[in-house]
């Protein structure tokens, strides 16, 4: 009902390969886009700055990982390391005097080069072996960061990011940062939406399903895997650079450590492999829920006048958060994206499917 299908006919290939086949999807997306655009004016700056902005940047990053893990089916446990390469190269370039537009691209390309170089070696193995090899990349990168003051910025290992400036405009306001993050996230989302309907996207899916079957069909699986790694690393690099430029304002090795890699992977898995809207949901759950639950539990215990030990108070949200992840994956193993998909499918024919029962 809400997703009305009446009058939707695909009479040619162009119409059949449209991004939004159902008008309601397009309208909903446009509506959300407008809300995103208007967010700085309708949302208190705390939510804009501490929740929306990191959410959007991490979503862009998670979409990049989704490309390699969800579409191409390659498990990647060193994603934060790739983000670190982008962040550090972009900041060093910007500190050197390169305009930010190019610094971001340099960051992306550096990530791309290092990510795919590593993939060259890593892709000789498959599955869990690949996961372990990418994990090794994470540790190599951690080691490089903590042992080269020239890269990580002195003995404290913190590298100050210069003021972000794009198109000749210094960006210093919360609103400005938000729009940069929003713009990047929209760009990546559009790219991913289109990926589905290109030859590249179909090749990646073929490689994911069975790489030797893909090879028999004439899809060079090694080439496409490398391409997937290179593209996703580019997205990771720019996202990492933007994360530092608009949110952290300085880069430190802890921001890109191994647990961050695992968090991004969790975002993608909880959200749903190969699901774009799922990445948005997954990031929200993994990134924002711990802080929110923490606030609610702390606020609630204060309001009820309960004397709870601060340590216990700190561990309750962790337990709630862990339980949430388990519950989500129990209800729908394919992730939050599929959960949304189920609701959409239900509403698509509602109430007429009820007549059958």
């Amino acid at each position: 009902m809400f997703y009305r299908l009446s009058g939707v006919h695909h009479a040619n290939y162009v119409s059949d390969s449209r991004i939004f086949k159902v008008p309601a999807d397009r309208n909903l997306t446009a509506f959300i886009f407008l809300i995103g655009l208007a967010a700085p004016f309708i949302m208190p700056s705390l939510y804009l700055n501490s929740y929306m902005l990191p959410w959007l940047i991490w979503t862009a990053a998670a979409l990049g990982l989704n490309l390699v893990t969800g579409w191409a089916g390659q498990l990647h446990l060193g994603y934060a390391a790739v983000m670190a390469v982008g962040a550090y190269s972009a900041i060093h370039a910007a500190r050197f005097g390169v305009p930010w537009e190019f610094a971001l691209i340099i960051g992306g390309l550096a990530s791309s080069v290092i990510g795919s170089l590593f993939a060259f070696a890593a892709l000789r193995v498959k599955g869990l072996y690949l996961a372990l090899t990418t994990l090794a990349m994470q540790f190599v990168m951690d080691w490089v960061l903590t042992h080269s003051p020239a890269i990580s910025g002195g003995s404290h290992a913190s590298l100050q990011s210069p003021t972000l400036a794009l198109l000749g405009q210094d960006i210093t306001s919360d609103t400005g940062y938000y729009y940069v993050a929003f713009g990047w996230c929209v760009l990546v989302t559009i790219f991913m939406l289109n990926l589905k309907r290109t030859g590249l996207g179909r090749a990646l899916v073929a490689v994911r399903e069975k790489d030797f079957a893909a090879a028999i069909l004439g899809v060079n699986s090694f080439y496409y895997k490398i391409l997937a790694f290179a593209t996703s690393s580019f997205i990771a690099g720019v996202s990492g650079a933007l994360l530092v430029a608009t949110f952290f304002f300085l880069a430190a090795p802890e921001q890109f450590s191994v647990n961050v890699s695992i968090q991004v992977l969790a975002m993608v898995i909880v959200g749903g492999l190969g699901s774009i809207i799922g990445s948005y949901f997954g990031v929200a759950l993994i990134l924002l829920v711990p802080g929110l639950v923490n606030g609610i539990v702390a606020g609630g215990s204060e309001a009820l006048g309960m004397q709870i030990n601060v340590e216990t108070l700190a561990h309750i949200p962790n337990a709630v958060y862990g339980a949430l992840i388990v519950i989500v994956l129990l209800i729908e193993p394919l992730g939050l994206g599929k959960l949304y998909g189920n609701i959409r499918d239900y509403l698509m024919v509602w109430p007429f499917d009820q007549l059958r029962k």
């Binding site: 909903l28 509506f31 959300i32 809300i35 949302m43 700056s45 705390l46 939510y47 700055n49 501490s50 929740y51 929306m52 990191p54 500190r95 903590t146 042992h147 990580s152 910025g153 002195g154 003995s155 404290h156 290992a157 913190s158 100050q160 210069p162 949110f247 952290f248 304002f249 300085l250 430190a252 090795p253 802890e254 921001q255 809207i277 948005y280 949901f281 929200a284 990134l287 924002l288 711990p290 802080g291 929110l292 923490n294 606030g295 609610i296 702390a298 606020g299 609630g300 204060e302 309001a303 030990n309 601060v310 340590e311 108070l313 700190a314 561990h315 949200p317 962790n318």
Partner: protein, 412 residues
């Protein structure tokens, strides 16, 4: 997505309202954004308990300028993102004094605090060059930097050898990441200056396997060991030292070694072990006794009594004595309400303040936000900590050279 955003906003607003209604009078608030669930849990429970106890004591005595004080303790799980969230949320609620007790989070908050003009207290964590008040206006790492602490350790060794270090061998055992690597530069400078031999022994994280390190130490036979490790790694080190027959009295630890570690090492085995510190160790300090009498004896303590016997409880008392003393002075000179500016001015009037014999006397100035960086060496005698030196801050010219060199890089 829309639904989710709305739900998020509604949830957080609910949280905000609930905490907002608590504020009847306008108390002096401290934002204690701590890691109570991940990496720093070896110290944060004791320190936050001390903060809450001290706030209760201050309130029992009539608060500051007649208004109550409040410490708001929140967990950030050592994640920079959540630390920033905690900071942003509390600073919009009018908090202007923050403490994180976590290096990654302190680093993440620092640019914002500098921009927004909020006081960032970062005793014992964060970037050490923040003691340079001419660069870091709003950051107060009161207490020793790791550089200063290492220099004082060297000064103590020099004392032991009657001022001649030419044939002394000092080993530096450290966690091989920025926390442990920080003192290397200063130790190398001092080794050149004083002529002692310095050997470096990096310990890979998380420090649970140190066998290779200590057999190398046995072969090299250093006269003293300066150790920059945390928590359980001390226990592993002590086991390896016993295995390699290295006497415990060579061991000079960084301040992060407490009674829990001593108990795990074994009380007898730990005799002779030394540590640098900026607070008096042991349960006999006057302020703790007062808190016991006023709160714990009446069952109003903020946590278990056992935690107050820990040296990190004393560390917490020291940190928050400074926080409240500065607030008291700000209220006295500039009146209520206390603002970030009046608070900052009050901090810089602290002179030889030692919280009634609890810690090394500190003198905060506009240039030196570290308060002088005095520490002393204490030795575990099987029952308590016995001071081996006075409160000292040696080689301050060398330390400040390193500070200035590092802080000058902050502004591009």
């Amino acid at each position: 997505m829309k639904r989710l955003t709305k739900a998020l906003a509604a949830f957080t607003m609910m949280g905000g309202l609930v905490t907002g209604t608590q504020a009847l009078a306008e108390p002096f608030k401290v934002g204690v954004c701590y890691d109570l669930s991940k990496a720093y849990t070896f110290a944060t429970p004791q320190v936050s308990q001390a903060a809450m106890d001290l706030a209760k004591l201050v309130n029992m005595k009539g608060g500051i300028g007649g208004e109550p004080v409040e410490v708001i303790v929140r967990d950030h799980g050592n994640e920079p993102q959540r630390g920033i969230e905690c900071y942003s949320k509390l600073s919009r609620e009018g908090v202007f004094v923050f403490d994180t007790l976590s290096t990654p989070v302190s680093l993440a908050i620092l640019p914002r605090a500098m921009e927004d003009g909020r006081i960032l207290m970062q005793s014992l964590v964060g970037r050490g060059d923040a003691v340079d008040g001419t660069v870091f206006d709003w950051v107060y790492p009161i207490g020793p930097t790791y550089w200063g602490q290492a220099a004082n350790d060297v000064a103590y060794i020099k004392q032991l050898h009657d001022g001649d270090m030419s044939d002394v061998k000092v080993g530096f055992v450290y966690f091989d990441y920025p926390f442990g690597q920080e003192p290397i530069e200063i130790l190398e400078t001092l080794s050149e200056k004083e002529g002692f031999q310095l050997d470096l022994y990096p310990v890979p994280l998380p420090g649970s396997d140190q066998a290779g390190v200590w057999s190398k130490v046995r072969r090299d036979k250093p006269d003293h060991l300066i150790v920059w490790m945390l928590g359980g790694a001390h226990v592993v080190a002590s086991k390896e030292m016993q295995r390699n027959r290295i006497p415990m009295d060579k061991y000079i630890s960084v301040n992060w070694l407490n009674e829990v570690d001593i108990a795990n090492i074994g009380n007898e085995a730990a005799i002779g072990l030394k540590r640098g510190t900026n607070v008096v160790g042991g349960p006999d300090v006057a302020l703790r006794q007062e808190i016991l009498a006023e709160l714990y004896d009446k069952g109003e303590g903020s946590g278990p009594l056992g935690k107050t016997e820990d040296v990190f409880y004393n560390t917490g008392l020291a940190m928050y004595s400074i926080v409240f003393e500065a607030a008291r002075r700000a209220a006295e000179t500039d009146g209520l309400p206390i603002t970030a500016d009046s608070y900052k001015a009050a901090l810089e009037t602290l002179e030889d303040y030692d919280a009634n014999g609890l810690m090394a006397p500190i003198t905060v100035t506009a240039e030196d936000h570290g308060g002088g960086g005095k520490t002393r060496i204490e030795m575990w005698d099987g029952e308590t900590w016995v001071p081996q030196t006075d409160w000292i801050a040696e080689y301050s010219d060398v330390v400040w050279d390193v500070v200035k060199e590092s802080s000058s890089k902050y502004q591009q």
